[in-house]
C-alpha cells in the first residue's frame, strides 16, 4: 500500500520540484502517474522509494514511513528506474544474482527467482552474455527482472515498456496485470497514455510538482470532458426537428445521419432517448457511447494548466 499526504520537495533553496502531492494506492491497484518531463514524477517516485527525503509532508510505503524507516521501505519496493542502470560487464544471470544478494535472498531463492525471471522475460538464452551486448528491449526486460527479483509488495515503475518491441511490451503489461491480481501495489510513470489507460485503475496527472487530477479514468473523463456522450446513427438522413429529448439529456452534436447526446445518468435516461427516437420513426442503426481517450483528458488538462500558468 502507498499513501502520502502533502509530499513536497524543495531544491536549491527555492525551487519546489514536488509541491503538496497526496496519493493513495491500495494493494491490487495500479496508479499511473502522468506528466511532462520535469513535472515531478521521478522526484515523487524517489521520495516514495526513500531515496530522497521530503521537505514537507509524509509518506508510508508497504506500511513503512519513508523518513523513519527508509531501509525497510527500500527492502519492500521494486524500482524500475528511468535509465535501465545495468552493469554492462556483468552477464544477465550475474546481475540478477547480485541484486538477489543485495536484497538478502538466500542462495536457493536467488537461483530460483533468477531462473524464473530470465525464463519469463525470454532472456534465458542470453543469461551468460554480458548485458552490454543486449538490445535495448532486452536491457529493459533485465532491468524489470531486477525490480522483481525480491518479489516486492510495492512496485514503482518508470516507463516500464519503453524501447520494447510490441510483443515484449505486451509481455510486460501482462506481468504487471498479473502482479496486480496478486495484490501488489503498483505505480507506473509513463508517457504511453494507451498503456496507462489499459493498465491503470487510477490516474494522476502532475504538472509543475502539483497533482492536477487524480481519480479513475471514468471520473477524469467526466470531470475534464464533461458528461458521457452517446451517439445515435441512422441508415438515412433524419430530421431531428421534431425530437423531444427527455430530461437529463442534451443534444451535443447534430448531422444528417447522426446525433450526439450528453447524458448525466445514462442508465435512467438512455432508454428514454431510444424510446423518443423510435416514436419519431428515426431509422436508427446503432446507439452507443462515444469513445473518449485518456489522451483527450491529458491534453485538455495540460492545455488548461499551461493557459492558467501563462495567464498568471
Amino acid at each position: 500500500m502507498i499513501e502520502c499526504e502533502d509530499l513536497s520537495k524543495k531544491y536549491n533553496g527555492d525551487f519546489w520540484a514536488v509541491d503538496g502531492v497526496s496519493l493513495g494506492v491500495q494493494p491490487g491497484e495500479i496508479l499511473a502517474l502522468l506528466g511532462q518531463n520535469g513535472a515531478g514524477k521521478t522526484t515523487t517516485v524517489r521520495m516514495l522509494t526513500a531515496l530522497i527525503s521530503p521537505t514537507r509532508g509524509w509518506a508510508r510505503v508497504a506500511g513503512y514511513d519513508v523518513v523513519k524507516q527508509p531501509q525497510a521501505v527500500r527492502a519492500n519496493v521494486g524500482v524500475l528506474t528511468e535509465q535501465h542502470g545495468l552493469y554492462m560487464r556483468m552477464t544477465g544471470a550475474e546481475y540478477l544474482e547480485f541484486f538477489g544478494k543485495v536484497y538478502g535472498l538466500d542462495a536457493g531463492t536467488r537461483r530460483q527467482r533468477t531462473e524464473y525471471l530470465l525464463d519469463y522475460f525470454g532472456l534465458a538464452e542470453a543469461a551468460r552474455r554480458r548485458s552490454g551486448e543486449y538490445s535495448k528491449g532486452m536491457k529493459q526486460k533485465l532491468a524489470l527482472a531486477r525490480a522483481l527479483i525480491h518479489d516486492p509488495s510495492v512496485l514503482l515503475l518508470d516507463e516500464p515498456t519503453s524501447a520494447m518491441d510490441p510483443e515484449s511490451a505486451q509481455l510486460v503489461r501482462n506481468e504487471i496485470a498479473r502482479l496486480r491480481s496478486s495484490k501488489r501495489t503498483i505505480i507506473i510513470c509513463t508517457h504511453n497514455l494507451a498503456e496507462a489507460e489499459a493498465l491503470a485503475d487510477t490516474i494522476a496527472i502532475i504538472y509543475r510538482g502539483r497533482i492536477l487530477l487524480n481519480g479513475s479514468l471514468d471520473e477524469l473523463k467526466r470531470r475534464v470532458l464533461g458528461p458521457v456522450e452517446y451517439e445515435a446513427r441512422f441508415s438515412e438522413p433524419f430530421d431531428a426537428g421534431g425530437l423531444e429529448l427527455p430530461a437529463g439529456a442534451e443534444l451535443a452534436y447534430c448531422s444528417a445521419t447522426s446525433l450526439r447526446f450528453r447524458v448525466e445518468a445514462p442508465l435512467a435516461v438512455n432508454p428514454k432517448i431510444v424510446h423518443a427516437l423510435t416514436l419519431c420513426k428515426a431509422p436508427l442503426v446503432s446507439f452507443q457511447e462515444v469513445s473518449r481517450k485518456l489522451e483527450q483528458v491529458y491534453l485538455k488538462t495540460m492545455a488548461d494548466a499551461q493557459g492558467a500558468a501563462y495567464a498568471a
Partner: protein
C-alpha cells in the same frame, strides 16, 4: 557485524569484477606498474655511480628507501581514477539509482567503494615496490633494513588511505567525472608535497620520525573517511544533475547565520554572539585544557632538559640577565619599532591562518599551531625561571596584562576553528557538506569579528604601551 561486512564486500566484489573485466583499466595499470620499477632501478644505478665519485654516503644510504617511497606513490596517483569515479562514474552511467534504491545502508555503499579504492592502488603499489626490491636485491647495493621497509610500506598504506578517502569525498560531491578528475589535483598535489617532506625525513636519516608522518597522515585519512561517511547522502547523488552554485542562497544562509536574526549591532551582541559562544563551551574546555597542558609541559621540558644542554654557570646567567636588560631598555621605543596597528594586524592574520590550517585538516592543524604558541609561552617562562627571574612575576607583568585579551582571543578563535572541523566530520542528516561548511564558517566569522578582533585590538594597545612599563616596574634591579 558479519552482515555489515558481507554487505560491504558485496559492493566491493562487484566493483572488483567490473574493473578486472575492463582491459582499459587493467592493461595500462599493469604496464605502468611493471615498467616503472625498471626505469627507477636504472636511474638508481646511475645515481649511485655518480654519488660514489663524490662520496655522498648519507644520500647513498637513503636513496633506495626514497625511490621505494616514490615507486609506491606513482601507482597510487594513477589508480586514483578508480576512487574518483566510484560514485560519480556510476551516476553518469546511470547505474547508481538501482543500487541506491536497494536496502544497502549508506555505510555499506561508502565503505565498499572505499575498500575497492584502497585495495586496487595498494595492490599495484606493492606490486611495483616488490618488483623494484627484486631488482635491487640483484645489485651490489645496500638493501634497506626490514624496519625501514615496514615504515615505508606503512607510509604508502597511509598515503593510499588518505588519497582514496579524499577522492571518494570528491566522487560523492562531484556531478560529473570530468569535474572529479579536475579536482584530483587537490589530492595528488598536496600528497606530493607531503612526500617531499617525508623524503627530507628519510634523507635526514632519522627513521623514527617517519612514525610521526605515518600517524599524521593516518589521522588525516581517518578524519576524511569520517567526513565522507558523515556527509554521504543518497539524495545528493541524485538530487543534483548539474554543477550549479546558487550564490544568492549561499549568501542568504551565511547572512542569516552570521546575524543570528539580529536587527541591530546591540541585538547582535546581546543575542547572536552569546548564542554562538554557548555552542563553543565544549570546544573551549578542550582548547583551554590543551593550552594549559602545553604551557606546563613546555615549562617542565625546559626546566628538565635545558640544563643538560646549556651550561648555566653564574657568569653565564649574568650574561643572560644583561641580555634581557638590553632588550628591556629597547622596549622604551617599542611603539615606534612595532606600531600597535601592525601588531594587531599580525595577530589577526595569525588567527586567520589558524582557521585556514584548521579547514584543510578538520581543525587539527589549527590546534597544533595553538599548542605550539602556548608551548612557547611555557618555554619563555621556563627560560626566565632558569635565568633567575620569577616565572610568576614574568607571567604577571610580561604576558598577563595583554594576554588576558590576546590569549582569550586566540583560545576563542581556536575553539571556533576546532568546532568547524568537528561539524565537518559529524553526521548531519539535514544539511549538505557545503551548507555545513557555510554555517560553521558563519559562526567562526561571527566570533572572529564580534569578539576576537576587538580583543586583539585591545591586546595590541596594552602590549605596546603598558606591558613594557610593567616589565620595567617588576624588574627594576635590571
Amino acid at each position: 557485524m558479519r552482515r555489515n561486512w558481507e554487505a560491504i564486500w558485496l559492493v566491493a566484489r562487484r566493483e572488483f569484477i567490473d574493473q578486472f573485466r575492463d582491459w582499459r583499466i587493467i592493461v595500462p595499470m599493469t604496464l605502468l606498474v611493471t615498467v616503472f620499477p625498471f626505469i627507477a632501478d636504472d636511474t638508481t644505478r646511475q645515481a649511485i655511480g655518480f654519488m660514489n665519485r663524490f662520496g655522498g654516503d648519507l644520500i647513498l644510504d637513503n636513496l633506495i628507501p626514497f625511490v621505494i617511497l616514490v615507486i609506491g606513490f606513482f601507482p597510487l596517483s594513477f589508480t586514483l581514477v578508480v576512487a574518483l569515479e566510484a560514485f560519480v562514474g556510476e551516476k553518469e552511467r546511470g547505474t547508481i539509482e538501482p543500487l541506491l534504491s536497494s536496502p544497502l545502508e549508506d555505510r555499506h555503499l561508502y565503505l565498499g567503494k572505499l575498500l575497492v579504492g584502497i585495495v586496487t592502488p595498494l595492490v599495484f603499489s606493492y606490486l611495483s615496490i616488490g618488483i623494484y626490491l627484486f631488482l635491487v636485491s640483484r645489485r651490489d647495493v645496500a638493501f634497506p633494513s626490514p624496519y625501514m621497509l615496514v615504515l615505508i610500506l606503512l607510509l604508502t598504506f597511509a598515503h593510499a588511505v588518505l588519497m582514496v578517502s579524499s577522492a571518494i569525498v570528491i566522487s560523492v560531491q562531484a556531478t560529473t567525472i570530468r569535474s572529479a578528475n579536475l579536482m584530483a589535483s587537490f589530492v595528488v598535489v598536496p600528497v606530493a608535497f607531503m612526500l617531499q617532506g617525508e623524503t627530507i625525513l628519510i634523507f635526514w636519516g632519522n627513521e623514527d620520525v617517519l612514525w610521526y608522518a605515518i600517524l599524521a597522515v593516518t589521522l588525516l585519512a581517518i578524519l576524511l573517511v569520517r567526513l565522507g561517511l558523515a556527509h554521504f547522502k543518497r539524495e545528493y547523488l541524485l538530487g543534483r544533475e548539474i554543477d550549479m552554485l546558487n550564490f544568492k542562497n549561499m549568501y542568504r544562509v551565511f547572512r542569516d547565520r552570521f546575524t543570528g536574526g539580529a536587527k541591530s549591532l546591540p541585538d547582535w551582541y546581546r543575542w547572536a554572539i552569546p548564542a554562538t559562544l554557548r555552542q563553543l563551551r565544549y570546544p573551549l574546555i578542550i582548547v583551554f585544557s590543551l593550552g594549559l597542558i602545553a604551557i606546563f609541559a613546555s615549562y617542565a621540558w625546559v626546566m628538565f632538559n635545558i640544563p643538560a644542554y646549556v651550561e648555566l654557570s653564574p657568569e653565564r646567567l649574568d650574561d643572560f640577565r644583561l641580555l634581557v636588560r638590553d632588550n628591556l631598555v629597547n622596549l622604551d621605543g617599542l611603539d615606534r619599532q612595532i606600531p600597535a596597528p601592525f601588531l594587531f594586524f599580525y595577530n589577526a592574520r595569525t588567527t586567520l591562518v589558524f582557521l585556514l590550517m584548521g579547514l584543510v585538516s578538520f581543525g587539527t592543524l589549527g590546534l597544533v599551531l595553538f599548542i605550539a604558541n602556548f608551548a612557547l609561552v611555557g618555554g619563555v617562562l621556563g627560560a626566565a625561571s632558569l635565568v633567575g627571574f620569577s616565572p610568576f612575576l614574568t607571567f604577571a607583568a610580561g604576558i598577563l596584562p595583554h594576554g588576558v585579551f590576546e590569549l582569550t582571543a586566540v583560545i576563542l578563535a581556536t575553539a571556533a576553528t576546532y568546532r568547524v572541523g568537528v561539524l565537518l566530520v559529524s553526521p548531519d542528516t539535514d544539511r549538505s557538506l557545503g551548507e555545513t561548511l557555510l554555517l560553521s564558517l558563519a559562526d567562526w566569522f561571527k566570533v572572529f569579528i564580534g569578539v576576537v578582533i576587538p580583543l586583539l585590538a585591545i591586546a595590541a594597545v596594552i602590549e605596546i604601551y603598558l606591558t613594557p612599563i610593567l616589565l620595567k616596574m617588576v624588574f627594576p634591579f635590571l
